[in-house]
Every structure is written in structure tokens, then in C-alpha cells.
Chain length 184, copies 2
């Protein structure tokens, strides 16, 4: 019952109200972040997708559904901070994956969470439908697990690790509730 990446992306589309708690472990600090997240599908030949693939040397025929994630929110860590941004994400499934269902591959993004340079992570979708993404940056590494509790509720656990992967500096849980379009 593995889920392929196109199905995972399709289930993720829409507007989500996110409630996120981060634990800064060294000083046992709690941070609360509230945000709205929008995830939109993109055409494979969207100029931003073509540019990202070109910068990473990926042939367009190798990609699955690309998508754009935008967010806007606020944190109680610094009340003057407005968190706002967007990133383009392009999955590149491994060819000849055991399941034949594109359950693992690379995920290209034009901005990382922890740094602001283009990055590529490695994803796997486990047999219980959890999307696991690991991304290495210059000075840190990130591990994310995302899974659906129902069509309109998903959870995301993120760990920010030291670049050697041994220590965890920050952990967080996001509870994301889909904002349903109003019926007219």
C-alpha cells in the first residue's frame, strides 16, 4: 500500500492552517508559530520549474508533479517577525525503484528552509504512507516526516540536525488543517 509521489502531492494541494511548535533543545525553549500554507501544483514546463531543473542538471522527462509552497505567519519568538516566503519543489523519482511506484527519489527546491540556496533532498514514502525527507545543508541537516491523519489533516515533524547528523538542535510539530473552499 505504498503511496506514489504524485498521489502525495495531489493530497497536499490546497490551503492549510498550520499550528507549529518548535522545541529549541539546548535551552528548552518553546516557540509557537501560526501560519497559512498554500500548496499549488505547477505545470512541468512552468518557467520556474524549467529553471530549477536546468540549474540542477535534471532532464524534465524525469520529474513528477512539481508544486509551489507559499507561507505567511507569525512566531512568538520575535513578535515583529513576519514569516513569509515561497519555494518551488520538484520531485525526481528514482528509476527502477523496487515498488515500481516511485516511492523514493530526490526533491529539488529553489530555497531551503535552513539556508536560502537551492538544495536537493532525498525522500522516501514508507509503506504506512509517511513522506520522509532528508536534506543536507552546509551547516545543518534537516529531517522531515509528513503524514495524513485524514484528507484534511496532516502532521509534519521536523528535526534540524548538526551537519554531522549526530545532534538535534530543534524539533518541531506542525498540525495542518485544510481550509475548505467555501461552497457557493
Amino acid at each position: 500500500m505504498g503511496m506514489d509521489i504524485d498521489t502525495f502531492v495531489a493530497r497536499s494541494l490546497g490551503k492549510w492552517r498550520s499550528q507549529r511548535s518548535a522545541h529549541h533543545l539546548a535551552f528548552a525553549h518553546f516557540e509557537e508559530i501560526r501560519s497559512m500554507i498554500e500548496i499549488e501544483g505547477l505545470a512541468k514546463d512552468d518557467p520556474s520549474v524549467l529553471a530549477l531543473c536546468k540549474s540542477q542538471g535534471i532532464d524534465i522527462s524525469a520529474i513528477a508533479t512539481p508544486f509551489k509552497m507559499s507561507w505567511e505567519g507569525e512566531t512568538d519568538w520575535n513578535e515583529d517577525d513576519v514569516l513569509k516566503g515561497q519555494t518551488i519543489l520538484v520531485p525526481v523519482p528514482h528509476v527502477g525503484d523496487n515498488s515500481g511506484e516511485n516511492n523514493s527519489g530526490k526533491l529539488l527546491r529553489d530555497q531551503g528552509y535552513a539556508e536560502t540556496i537551492p538544495a536537493a533532498g532525498d525522500y522516501t514514502i514508507t509503506s504506512d504512507g509517511t513522506f520522509v525527507l532528508t536534506t543536507g545543508y552546509d551547516r545543518a541537516a534537516a529531517e522531515e516526516k509528513i503524514w495524513f491523519a485524514s484528507d484534511n489533516l496532516r502532521f509534519r515533524v521536523s528535526l534540524i540536525k548538526t551537519s554531522d547528523g549526530k545532534g538535534v538542535t530543534t524539533s518541531s510539530l506542525s498540525s495542518e488543517v485544510r481550509i475548505l473552499p467555501k461552497s457557493e
Copy 2:
């Protein structure tokens, strides 16, 4: 590379400083809980273990390492509340489990988290070493995932569900750091 339940229990023993965030989803409320958790191994013939097995009709020869979990902490939800309690837990591995490593079974406990009657949950340890526990109560169901990032750091994600298993009322993340014994 599955982990057996005795190994999981052995890795869990000790004192842990827990930082827990709960999301009460219906009203997007954040709750912060700080606590100390102590997990101690028990002898299989400890009177409390014998009593629990008897109450659930389990033969003592069928059990793996029993343990006691005690906690004491405080929440910002109600500042007068002191959270304090303890529970006895007894794993009963399934016989003839595929892996031959006792990777799934029942977990008896003399108190549940969501209600205060004896309860039995079902556990599985996944191939990546995540302990997954589901427990049904009269009016709710709980799903917990616990995994180790390193010897002295573990994470626990809990979902409290409606009894039909369809809705989630509360999600939480605990980051648990082991308090190392002082060297003398």
C-alpha cells in the same frame, strides 16, 4: 534491522527531561508541558506485574521486560495543575511474529493516559525503529510514535482521536532528553 521490545525498553530506562507541546485542534490552542519522566525496569515477578497480568488473563511466561513510568510536571494550561502519576507497563510480544524478533504485541498498562482504567494497547516496532502504539479507550483512541534520535534523545508524537478513529482532537510532540547520572 528491526528492534525487539526488550531492546526498546532497555534504551528507554533512565530519567528524561521532557518538553511537550500539545495542539488542541478545535480551537488552535497551544499547550506547553514540562516534566521529568523516569522509566525503571521491573522484575517479571514483581507483585504489581503479577497483579496486572492476572487482571488481564496473561500468563507470566508470555511477557517481555515490564517497566514503570513515573512523571511529574506542569502545564501552562492551568498553572495550578501539577501533573503527576505513574503506570506499570507490561509488553506481551506476539508469538510467531514474522521477524522472529517480537516486533509487535500487546502492551498492558494499569492506567491509561486518557482514562484511568486498566488498558491494553497494540504495539509494533517498524523497520526504522519507531515504536507505534495504538490504544482504544471507551470514548477516545490514542496513537503514539516513539523513536530515538540518539541514545540520549527521543521523540514522542501522540494523537488523541475520537473513538471511531476518524477525528483527531489533540496532537502533541515530546522532546525527551536523558538526564545523565553525575559521575562521581
